[in-house]
């Protein structure tokens, strides 16, 4: 059964057709044989009944006259019927008057029986008929008829039916192999279409409709389903394409942004490197000018008059100032040159102490006093914070009033940030200049007070680098307070409350 289930439809159809044909033929064959044997028996019955009656009627005279010779003659007429094996005529008392036996037959008649009957036995048929004369029993006729004829007929019928079966199966095979395509071709077409779709994912494939029957309806339904899938697939593809396009656009926008960011960072970097290298390399020739003008003064004292000496001193002064400017420029560009993620922890109390040492000479000269409250430790670069406080405190000393400089450093916590204040009692700054003083090389006081004008620019750069802001609160003659903020996240976690 399993093998049949897995057979191709073509073969299945053929098997079904041939099995149906064979079964119908076999059944009708068996029916015919059964019907024939029934009909033949009734025919035999009538025939033998008539025959036995004729024989019985013809033998009444022989029995009446007890003439065995005549009886034998009557019986010998049976020779024409080859299936009659034996026949006997018995007298009324049961004694045998005459017998007939087919040549070669070993079988004789059965014992006389007065019943008028034809009895079918397993292998033969026995006839027994009373012989009457004027309705009086005078003798009995017995006959034995063999059933070979029935067997022959069955053999002939069997062979015929078998022949017809074979022939009709042959015809059925030929016909079905032609006709099965009517069923199997549309199915195979459908199978091909399905396979193609599942293999190629091409939903534009359609199965060809070859018939208007249920298979045709199936093909229509299948094609309709494919069309549905195809349109959904198209929509999906379109949506994917749209999304891809949008992604590509976003990506290219991001790329170009990144590129310009990178370019900006690079050009920034280049600019800084240029400033750094320039300020560094320019120092060397200036060093030469300084040293050689010193050498000039030193080596040729008698020959140099006072004016020449002044010229040389001006050269020396100019180069010294240029060296200072370059050094400050170097310090300014250096702020941006360090990596963005500092790992140093800077204790601001130590920074202030360092700055006190650096500025010791000028604070000793002016009697300056620097006071500071307890300051936090921050994540950052120490050099930056030294620069920041050195410039702020240095400025406070530089721009002092007649009084001795008093500088106080304090810090306050505000939400998310720390607010530092460096307050002095110096000459103060006109509010008009509160913004400009933070510009590089911006100075308010000309050459009266030495300086390059980059100190506050450095301060601003340091503070902004760490994400803070710097500004000044001051009035002329009332001292100045420089305020700056730094993000609270710079404070080491263990110091936070």
């Amino acid at each position: 059964m399993h093998t049949f289930r897995n057979m191709p439809i073509k073969l299945k159809l053929m098997v079904i057709i041939m099995a149906t044909t064979s079964a119908a033929l076999l059944l009708s064959g068996v029916g015919i044989v059964i019907l024939d044997s029934i009909l033949f028996r009734s025919y035999l019955n009538l025939d033998l009944s008539a025959l036995s009656r004729i024989i019985a009627d013809n033998s009444t005279a022989a029995i009446a006259f007890d003439d065995p010779q005549a009886a034998v003659e009557t019986l010998s007429a049976l020779r024409a019927r080859t299936h009659i094996v034996a026949a006997c005529i018995y007298r009324k008392d049961g004694t045998t008057l005459a017998t007939y036996a087919r040549p070669g037959a070993g079988q004789g008649c059965r014992a006389p029986d007065a019943r008028d009957e034809i009895r079918f036995n397993a292998t033969d048929l026995t006839v027994s008929r009373p012989i009457l004369l004027k309705d009086r029993l005078i003798g009995i006729l017995a006959m034995v008829y063999d059933l070979d004829e029935i067997k022959d007929r069955r053999r002939i019928y069997g062979a015929g039916i078998l022949g017809i079966l074979v022939a009709s199966n042959l015809i059925a095979f030929v016909l079905s192999s032609k006709l099965r395509t009517v069923i199997s071709t549309p199915i195979l077409e459908l199978v091909h279409a399905t396979t193609a779709v599942s293999k190629t994912r091409d939903y534009s494939v359609r199965a060809q409709k070859l018939s208007g029957d249920e298979l045709g309806a199936l093909v229509d339904a299948f094609n309709e389903m494919l069309a549905g899938i195809e349109s959904r697939d198209d929509r999906l593809k379109e949506a994917l394409l749209d999304r891809e396009e949008a992604l590509t656009e976003a990506q290219s926008a991001r790329d170009s942004l990144q590129r310009s960011n990178g370019e900006l960072a690079r050009s920034n970097e280049d600019l800084e490197r240029f400033a750094f290298v320039a300020s560094h390399d320019l120092q060397d020739p200036l060093r030469m000018i300084t040293v050689y003008s010193q050498l000039l003064v030193k080596s040729y004292p008698p020959e140099l008059d006072n004016q020449a000496r002044m010229f040389v001193n001006n050269i020396a002064g100019g180069t010294k100032r240029m060296r200072e400017l370059l050094a400050d420029l170097l310090a300014y560009t250096e702020i941006g040159s360090r990596p963005d993620t500092p790992v140093e922890v800077v204790d601001l109390n130590v920074v202030i102490e360092n700055v006190r040492q650096i500025l010791k000479a000028s604070s000793d000269d002016t009697g300056a006093e620097v006071t500071a409250g307890r300051l936090p430790s921050l994540t950052g670069y120490e050099a930056h914070f030294i620069s920041l406080f050195q410039n702020l405190i240095g400025n406070a000393i530089k721009y002092r009033s007649e009084r001795s400089p008093r500088i106080d450093i304090s810090v306050q916590e505000a939400p998310g940030e720390l607010r530092f204040a460096v307050a002095d009692n110096g000459i103060g700054i006109d509010s008009e200049y509160h913004q400009t003083i933070f510009g590089a090389f911006k100075r308010l006081h000309g050459n009266k007070i030495p300086g390059t004008g980059i100190g506050l620019a450095i301060c601003q750069r340091v503070v902004e680098r760490y994400g803070g802001q710097i500004w000044v609160e001051s009035n002329v003659g009332q001292g100045a307070t420089f305020l700056f903020t730094l993000p609270a996240r710079l404070v080491r976690p263990e110091e936070r409350e």
Partner: protein, 142 residues
């Protein structure tokens, strides 16, 4: 090599491309009264040739002191120093680096190769002349 009065004459090799600096070095040595024969090479390639005793430098005596600039034409001072430390003849020769730059990283790299001193070229005459005395002191120790 000794002088007529018995003082030793030191052989100093300066590898320096800036002749203004060479003059100052000579002045500093004179003012510190260092008896010396100063040979000057003007770029790093010449320095390498000297260290390798190649061509016209073949068989020349080994100097007592090498004064080496860092930024040199062709081959820089670090390469010359490396070659010196790799050669048998120059491995133990005293080296003073006299550089116009004083970047810490450069300084650290020079120190890795065993230098006697790293001196930043000073922007002041008096400071420059002091170099003569520093070199004299170093030479006295060898």
């Amino acid at each position: 090599m000794t002088h007529a009065d018995g003082n030793r004459i030191f052989r100093i090799l300066a590898i320096e491309d800036n002749m203004a600096d060479v003059s100052l070095l000579r002045l500093a040595l004179e003012s510190a009264s260092v008896d010396c024969e100063l040979r000057v090479l003007e770029d790093g390639a010449e320095g390498l040739a000297f260290v390798g005793q190649e061509g016209r430098y073949a068989g020349l005596p080994i100097p007592d002191l090498v004064v080496l600039d860092v930024n040199l034409p062709k081959k820089d001072g670090l390469e010359v120093l490396e070659a010196m430390r790799a050669s048998h003849l120059f491995a133990e020769v005293m080296v003073v680096v006299l550089s116009s730059s004083s970047w810490p990283r450069e300084r650290a790299r020079m120190h890795q190769f065993g230098i006697a001193r790293f001196i930043a070229k000073p922007p002041d005459l008096e400071e420059y002349l002091k170099i003569g005395f520093i070199l004299k002191e170093l030479l006295a120790g060898c």
